[in-house]
Amino acid sequence: MRRPGRSASLRTRVAIAATLAAAIVVAMLAVLTSFVLANNDAAQLDRRLDSIVDASMYPEQLQDVKHGVLTTGRSRSTGQVVFQRGFQLPQLPPGSATVEVNGVDYRVRTVSVDQAGGILVSIGIREDSILLSRARIPLYVLIGSLSLLVAAGLGWILAGPAVRPLRRLTEQTRRLGKGDERMEPVHGAREAEDLSEAMDQMLRRLADAQAATTNSLQAAQDFAANAAHELRTPLTAMRADLDTLRIHDLPADERAEVVADLSRAQRRVEAIITALGQLASGQLARAEDREAIDVAEMLDRVAQENLRPSGDVEITVTADDAGMVWGWPAGLRLAVDNLVRNAITHGGATRIVLTARREGSHLVVTVDDNGRGLPAEEHEAVLGRFARGSTAALGGSGLGLALVAQQAALHGGRIELSDGPLGGLRATLTVSTSVEALSPEASPD
């Protein structure tokens, strides 16, 4: 999510702040230095003037070290001092040199004069400058330290606004968890913006994950409560029947009736437990367990398994061009099997037609029966867990169609009930034929 006109990066902001601080210090030092240098130039000029004035007008004052221009003339041949003004300078060759006289440095120029048989004249003036005197070193150190402090202070002040977006981000992060679950977008620095955006996305993902966890926990809790209730109901009937048998001495025919009810309730408990296990394994379906399924073969097998020995149920399969689908063989067979069983058990059907055909990217399996059908307003409701139709026979788990719906969702399709052409119910199971549509994560509800 790149916005047009992105803010400067934090690096740029800090660099600008540092440059600004340095620039201010450099400018201040430059002003100070030029001022000092200008003053110093004037002072040096004055000193030179003083020296000239001293030398030409007040030779008697030349003993004064402060002003002194020292002049010493020596014979070129013997080295004897010919004349001297002020302190004596040592013997020097022609040229320039620095010498110490009475603890003061003098810069001396020695020239050769062709007078009186050749004389070397050395003229020296004080070398110590106003600017570079040792005495001033502490002052310069002080100024240097002060400018360091000023630079640090300026850096501190200017870096504040530079990193302000980061600070805002920190404050916002701190506010999180104190009731405020959303991040206000932070502007000003690119890194902070990116970070705030990333954190916002992370928070959203966390909130979504938390909501999903809460939902699935809630669903699991509801499901457990429902399952307990569903199991307790047949157990209640069984307990009443057992107590009846125990307390009363029933005649044989009544006794047989009670025992028949008992075994039916027991089968109901079994059916619920089996279906619960199947639901759980459907929820745990793994993508790597998928196989290619021959649809016609699967439907034939379901038909064979549901034929009664008495031959009172006729099951027809039409699936010539259904081909193969990719999925969980046991799960898909369970779904079709549940539909056929429902038609026989709850619909009382004697004729069932299984049809499979391709429709675009889907395989459509229809189960038509000539049973007693189901009121249209229940077509949707019976797909829920522990939901039973008003025409359902006794002893069902209430989970059969929920299992079909789960498998349909796993296979990227759906289950639909409608009034069928044979007078009973039509169940239409859609299964995706594209491999990508299959997802074990798909919610079965």
Binding site: A228, H229, T244, H248, V258, G395
Partner: protein, 222 residues
């Protein structure tokens, strides 16, 4: 006998029939109310969890119509909870599914016996902030009238008649419900908690005291 599950309906009704009851069954709350309004019945066994009109609604409707028929609700809840759906609405007792048929039969017999001779009090009893008008079956706390269900009133009346005497759970079950047999139920404790909730509103001090390990007693001081 009202339950939405055909298996439970069939089996429990059959068991009750063999135990000497004349049983009519209903699959829904609506059907039960219709049966009760057209025929005369002595007791009601009612499943709480039913689609549409549930057991609590049936109890509420019956009591609102002034029908005092003894009601035993069948609760599917397995948690130990004072809030048994149906009891607060005015049912007399409850059993948790699955239950012992003999237990249900014994309780029904006792409730039927009780229903025929309701305790006849003489006059008003006053204990602390509590005033019980046994003749008109009215209860006042600090002058304000408190609405009690029939069973709650019977329990309070028994405690008031024995004010200062500690009554065990067993004795309360015998005096209020007519359970003169060994019975495994906490229905007395559940009703005590309902009574306390209703009587102790707005900082009224506790009048029903628990005597730990023995039972309950009605007196103003703990």
């Amino acid at each position: 006998m009202v339950d939405d599950d055909p298996d439970v309906r069939t089996s429990v009704a059959r068991g009750l029939r063999h135990s000497g009851f004349d049983v009519r069954v209903a699959a829904t709350g609506k059907e039960a109310l219709r049966l009760l309004s057209t025929e005369n019945h002595d007791a009601l066994v009612l499943d709480v969890q039913m689609p549409e009109l549930d057991g609590v609604a049936v109890v509420t409707a019956l009591r609102a119509l002034g029908n005092d028929i003894p009601i035993c609700v069948l609760s599917a809840r397995d948690t130990v909870n004072d809030r048994i759906a149906g009891l607060e609405a005015g049912a007399d007792d409850y059993l948790t599914k699955p239950f012992d048929l003999g237990e249900l039969v014994a309780r029904l017999h006792a409730l039927l016996r009780r229903a025929s001779h309701s305790a006849e009090g003489s006059d008003a009893i006053t204990i602390g902030p509590l005033m019980i008008d046994t003749a008109r079956r009215l209860v006042f706390v600090q002058g304000d009238r408190i609405e009690l269900t029939k069973r709650e009133f019977d329990l309070l009346a028994v405690l008031a008649e024995n004010a200062g005497v500690v009554l065990s759970r067993q004795r309360l079950l015998e005096l209020v419900w007519g359970y003169d047999f060994d019975v495994d139920t906490n229905v007395a404790d559940v009703f005590i908690s309902y009574l306390r909730r209703k009587l102790e509103r707005e900082g009224v001090p506790r009048v029903i005291q628990t005597v730990r390990g023995i039972g309950y007693v009605l007196r103003a001081e703990p």
